[in-house]
């Protein structure tokens, strides 16, 4: 499996001097990078800001890109990963996806209470995902958002297919524990509220 096609390699070579070639690369990868950043930050505003910075940085350094058999997208993901890490460090907080962002995408429904419950569950799951180490978050994003195979994920993350399988297994285990911990916390908060109101 090669890093990138000849066509893409040619674009990368020309991107250092031709605006149109870089524009083509941008069109090919902007959605992937945006999705990655969106699921790492949890909001569209920061996803837009960081995506712009990724491509500005890529534009400055694309001339120095060396083909080592690694996909160009891996290079972009690495830039994105560094910028997201800086973003988390700057804020030193875990961002939360506003509930309305997800609800807004579902549209009107005949069962708004089910929708609300599903949205809450989804929100909790995404919160659990964002508690995971960055490489595990990246793995889940590449697997579920980008729908890539273990081999493709391995190329991007610089690991073997077997290592990805193993990491995926461990990721699901820790995600399950994190999700249940959050769920338990929510239940405790609810029952605590009931006990308090009963005690009054």
């Amino acid at each position: 499996m090669t890093g990138q096609s000849e066509g893409e390699l040619d674009l990368i070579r020309r991107a250092g001097s031709e605006a149109s070639a870089f524009g083509e690369l941008y069109e090919r990868h902007v959605r992937q990078i945006y999705n990655y950043i969106y699921y790492r930050t949890g909001n569209h505003h920061d996803a837009e800001d960081l995506t712009a910075r990724v491509f500005q940085r890529a534009l400055r350094h694309v001339g120095a890109f060396e083909d080592k058999g690694v996909p160009f997208s891996a290079w972009l993901y690495r830039i994105a990963h560094n910028l997201v890490a800086n973003w988390h460090r700057d804020r030193s907080r875990r961002p939360v996806v506003p509930l309305d962002e997800h609800l807004a995408t579902t549209g009107p429904s005949a069962h708004p209470e089910w929708e609300a419950m599903a949205a809450e569950e989804r929100e909790m799951l995404l919160t659990a995902v964002r508690q995971l180490p960055p490489d595990r978050q990246q793995l889940l994003i590449l697997k579920f958002v980008e729908r890539l195979s273990n081999a493709e994920i391995g190329q991007i993350m610089g690991r073997t297919e077997g290592a990805i399988k193993s990491l995926y297994h461990r990721t699901l285990n820790s995600l399950r524990q994190e999700f249940l911990r959050l769920d338990q916390g929510r239940e405790d908060a609810t029952t605590g509220g009931v006990v308090e109101s009963d005690g009054r």
């Binding site: 902007v30 999705n35 699921y39 569209h44 837009e48 995902v129 958002v145 399950r176 524990q177 239940e187």
Partner: protein, 99 residues
């Protein structure tokens, strides 16, 4: 109790199913995509413009140097010509029989 001693069991398949439903691709706004592309191309464009500006400045400098050298040479030649005319007229005056 689940396998990990937690309050509810979640098997791997169920978790994967939730993940597939929760982690769907999001589409950035078309306005953002367009604006960023425009910005990147302009950024690159301004870089090219800067290169052309430098080339134009160097060419102008070369032309100005050549022009000033040409002018200096003409002045020198003019002065030499004037000097020659003066010398010739002096020589004529000194060799004239009336003198």
């Amino acid at each position: 109790m689940g396998a990990d001693g937690l309050s509810m069991p979640i098997d791997r398949r169920q978790l994967e199913d939730w993940l597939s439903r929760a982690m769907t691709p999001v589409e950035p706004s078309a306005r953002f995509i367009r604006r960023l592309r425009g910005g990147l191309v302009t950024y690159r464009g301004s870089g090219l413009l800067l290169e052309w500006k430098i080339i134009a400045a160097v060419v102008t400098l070369i032309l100005l140097t050549a022009a000033s050298l040409g002018l200096t040479l003409r002045i020198l030649l003019g002065l030499l010509g004037l000097f020659g005319i003066i010398q010739r007229s002096r020589r004529r005056r000194s060799t004239s029989p009336t003198a």
